[in-house]
């Protein structure tokens, strides 16, 4: 019988099934960071349990680490304690790899895993972080999990999970110049809503997805969770295989050939059936900008801020009223008339080399507008930072007036010192525009890296297609 990729990935990891269908899934890769793991390690210790398979663990510190003045260490004592707790836990239990603060390969966990070849097709991947869906770009079953589940995976190498329904998002056609993976996924969320994928595992397919680089596919899968889906993934193909060849933890020699032969089977069969199918036309997608406090509150750069009365559902309409009040926006304002105070280029959504290149193309030879107080560029990892510097991207950003920083999660969630002040408005390449996400009272507009750079130059949202 023909199977979807989800069914193939699921079936190949089932250890045991309870009567009600709850399954024990074997976990191949466990990514660990400092925020959601301390209670899990403590729980393990209190119960006198040992980690089941330490060679499945890849750990790094990312959420709390500063992006400047590394010579001073971590100034905030409670952030420092959390990072030091991770150091101590990994020292005690061990790991396949640990990239601590200041390590050359340190960075955002969802950037570090793939770039070191620690995320491989056919794997189950978990991490105590909702953006674990990112790894689905490699035809993985990648679940974001809570801390109790982190402890459960540490102790048993398994995750308790019920099978999801399957959704195929098929994006056909070629996107226009200046339109990116971020715009595709934001447009999707605008269409199906942030709860649209609840209960589903989303496979992203179609010619527009196949045409994306691995970086682009990671951006799309990263935001599957913003569409409500705990997992999102893309079938393996030549792009996947080419990306992985030669990476540190990727298989070598005979194993490589065997692995590649297996990876090529990680596609949905041609006549496989999905519980839901969403069709999107890539040619219709324009650069996207969110205007509200949920990623589904999004429109094109050629659009305007809607009015509460545009929405029939009273709960939704009231949500829009509240969002506009929080965002300090008036209905019918043109998106390209909204001025900004800060720019953030980074996060597990958009901090990879391709993202930095796209922003640099726009920044080259131009200047950040006078009304923009801070324009941050935060590479996703130390390796990306090195590569960007080898390509001279740092010089382009600095010459244009951007701040070039050390890697980490930074202003995506503002657990370190990078944050918005109350009322400040930011063009951000991150994934969430929730109230207070980038700092209490801060106003976040989600965009692609190229659009963030365009906003930095114009001092307001601007159509990047006019700057290319």
């Amino acid at each position: 019988m023909s199977k979807t990729l989800y069914e193939k990935l699921w079936n190949s990891h089932v250890v045991h099934v309870e009567e009600d269908g709850t399954a024990l899934l074997y976990i191949d890769r466990h990514l660990v960071h400092e925020v959601t793991s301390p209670q899990a390690f403590e729980g393990l210790k209190l119960a006198n349990r040992k980690p089941w398979r330490i060679s499945s663990i890849v750990a790094t510190a990312d959420h709390n680490t500063p992006t400047s003045h590394w010579e001073l260490g971590i100034q905030d004592p409670i952030s420092r304690q959390q990072v030091e707790t991770l150091d101590a836990n990994i020292r005690e239990v061990g790991a396949l790899a640990y990239f601590p603060f200041k390590d050359r390969r340190q960075g955002i966990v969802h950037v570090v895993g793939p770039e070191n070849g620690a995320t491989l097709p056919g794997m189950t991947v978990v991490c105590g972080d909702s953006h674990t869906s990112t790894h689905g770009a490699f035809a993985c079953l990648a679940h974001g999990i809570g801390t109790s589940e982190v402890e459960h995976v540490l102790a048993t190498q398994c995750l308790l999970q019920k099978k999801s329904k399957t959704m195929l998002v098929r994006v056909e056609g070629i996107v226009g110049s200046g339109v990116t993976a971020k715009d595709i996924v934001l447009a999707l969320i605008g269409r199906i809503g942030t709860a649209g994928g609840n209960g589903y595992a989303i496979e992203f397919g179609g010619s527009a997805i196949r045409a994306l680089s691995m970086e682009g596919r990671m951006t799309v899968c990263n935001m599957a969770i913003e569409a409500g889906a705990r997992v999102g993934f893309v079938a393996a193909d030549e792009t996947t295989i080419a990306y992985l060849k030669g990476r540190s933890f990727a298989p070598k020699g005979d194993d490589w050939d065997k692995a590649v032969a297996y990876w090529r089977t990680l596609v949905s069969d041609p006549d496989a059936r999905f519980d839901a199918v969403i069709e999107m036309d890539a040619r219709q997608v324009v650069p996207q900008v969110t205007w509200g406090t949920s990623p589904e509150m999004v429109t094109g750069i050629d659009g305007e801020v809607p009015a509460p009365e545009d929405f029939k559902d009273p709960v939704k309409s009231e949500g829009v009223t509240r969002a506009l009040q929080y965002m300090g926006l008036t209905p019918r304002t043109r998106i390209d008339a909204i001025k900004i105070d800060k720019v953030f280029i980074g996060s597990c959504t958009n901090s990879r080399i391709e993202d930095l290149r796209a922003a640099a193309v726009v920044a080259r030879g131009r200047k950040v507008a006078a009304n923009v107080k801070l324009a941050l560029v935060v590479p996703g990892s130390g390796l990306i930072k090195e590569q960007a510097e080898a390509e001279g991207l740092d010089k382009i950003f600095i010459a244009a007036g951007f701040d070039w920083r050390q890697p980490g999660c930074s202003m995506c969630l503002a657990m370190n010192d990078d944050r918005l002040e109350p009322g400040e408005r930011c063009a951000s390449t991150s994934n969430r525009n929730f109230e207070g996400r980038q700092g209490a009272g801060g106003r976040t507009h989600l965009v692609s890296p190229a659009m963030a750079a365009a906003a930095a130059i114009a001092g307001r949202f601007a159509d990047v297609r006019d700057l290319l």
Partner: protein, 212 residues
């Protein structure tokens, strides 16, 4: 984990959709390495007028009188009434920890985000999905009847209103057993340790590169 069998308690309404886990417990409180003590900072940005920071004495902070959970009539509530997609966003288990610490033992909503829903069950906090029409009615009853209480009966999977009207809800059999008995998932899973070892050994032979 505490057992959850039957709960009779005061209901507090939070009438907005897409309540995210950043709102339930803001990021600055995630720096704690403990599982407890998050209650005073649940909904911190909505609940207080000043900016919250770890280590503050929250009893001395100025509360936002407009935030529904600050109203006198909802003090001591153990059942939270919610709209759709409650708990969306970050996977932080600090969200159910904060709600539990605040005093909630059940959340009744139209729908929940997957990870949050799952995290609740690990912490003795029962998330219940009811149809929109029932939720609409409960919001109306809660608002118009001060001191409105509900009974949540997990063995019979019923939410019972004071007027005797009972609403059935679905819950996975496995999760229900765990909640009723206060079972530790890890202990349950380790009963299958032999099966896990066999699975792992086979995988190691078939895909050795995963075990390098």
């Amino acid at each position: 984990m505490d057992k959850f069998i039957k709960l009779e308690g005061l209901v507090a309404p939070l009438d907005r959709a897409n309540v995210d886990t950043d709102a339930i417990i803001p990021k600055q409180f995630l720096k704690s390495i403990k599982r407890s003590g998050f209650g005073p900072n649940a909904f911190d940005e909505w609940r207080y007028l000043d900016q919250g920071a770890p280590g503050q004495d929250s009893a001395k902070r100025v509360k936002n009188p407009d935030f529904v959970l600050n109203q006198e009539r909802y003090q001591g509530a153990s059942i939270l009434l919610a709209r759709s997609n409650f708990g969306c966003g970050s996977s932080r288990e600090h969200a159910p920890w904060a709600l539990h610490d605040f005093g909630f033992r059940a959340i009744i909503g139209e729908s929940f985000a997957d990870i949050f829903f799952n995290n609740c069950f690990k912490n003795g906090l029962l998330p219940i999905v009811l149809p929109k029409a029932e939720i609409d009615a409960l919001f109306g009853l809660t608002e118009h009847s001060p001191g409105y209480r509900l009974t949540v009966d997990l063995p019979s999977q019923l939410v019972v209103r004071p007027d005797g009207y009972a609403i059935h809800f679905e819950v996975d059999a496995f999760r229900k057993e765990c909640m009723l008995n206060g079972w530790d998932d890890i202990g349950l899973t380790l009963r299958h340790a032999e099966k896990i070892r066999e699975f792992e050994a086979r995988r190691r032979t078939e895909q050795p590169w995963l075990f390098a």
